[in-house]
Amino acid sequence: MSIAGVTDIRPTAPAAGRTEVGSSAKSGDFAAQFEAVLTDLGNTAQSADATSEGLVTGEVDIHEAMVAMEKADLALRVVGTVRTKVIDAYQQLLQASGG
């Protein structure tokens, strides 16, 4: 009975978070967010590094090392795709102002 009240709250919480992200992006915070993503990428790459080191010393299973490396690879490709998109958009803006 008291749970029914709590259920109503739940869907609004992520929605509120989403608006916040949207508004901060609107206020030109994209660079900061992108930087955070890059830091995250660095962490993922570092953990991949650590696990492959653990693989050599026999502390980590093969699949764990492979998963860590795969995650780093995937994160790198996602960041690369985002970067390509951003540069594309920037170049389109340059063309719009130039001609």
């Binding site: 749970i3 739940r10 299973d61 699949h63 764990e64 998963v67 795969e70 995650k71 995937l74 795709t81």
Partner: protein, 147 residues
């Protein structure tokens, strides 16, 4: 639940299956071991697995408390249990560990059951690799949207 979470989740399952393989290998290796540190013959070991929520985040704790099952749940080895079965008595008077009547207490390890366990663990591990390659191809396809 992102694709990276799926990979972590699958990795926990694969680690659990690796432990099952290790324990089956241990049981097979020790199937005629008559001396242990605790005394008596080796006792067969069994892996007990349990489900654990991935990373104790607030949202997973909340949805767990509310009885929702949409949060990712990984697996981990809860315990490796020793069997309490009595050892098998084998008549072998020449054995150094034989008792006065000539019987040796041998571990109760069923090689066939251990092999079946081993194969089950190997297949489950294989299933994990299939999940990982599916996740990989899904990610590739998702990235291709932007091209």
């Amino acid at each position: 639940m992102t694709l990276l979470r799926t990979m972590d989740l699958t990795a926990t399952g694969m680690s659990a299956q690796r432990t099952r393989m290790n324990v089956a290998a241990m049981n097979l290796a020790n199937r005629s071991t008559t001396r242990t540190a605790e005394g008596g013959p080796y006792r067969r070991r069994e892996v007990v697995l349990e489900a654990v929520p991935m990373e104790g985040s607030f949202s997973s704790a909340l949805s767990g408390a509310m009885g929702k099952n949409d949060e990712p749940v990984g697996v981990r080895v809860a315990t490796i249990q020793e069997s309490t079965d009595d050892p098998t008595l084998v008549y072998d008077p020449g054995h150094p560990d034989a008792d006065a009547a000539g019987y040796v207490a041998m571990p109760k390890v069923d090689s066939i059951a251990e092999m079946v366990d081993l194969m089950g663990a190997a297949r489950a591990y294989e299933a994990g690799t299939s999940v990982l390659s599916t996740v990989k191809s899904m990610a590739d396809q998702a990235l291709r949207i932007g091209r």
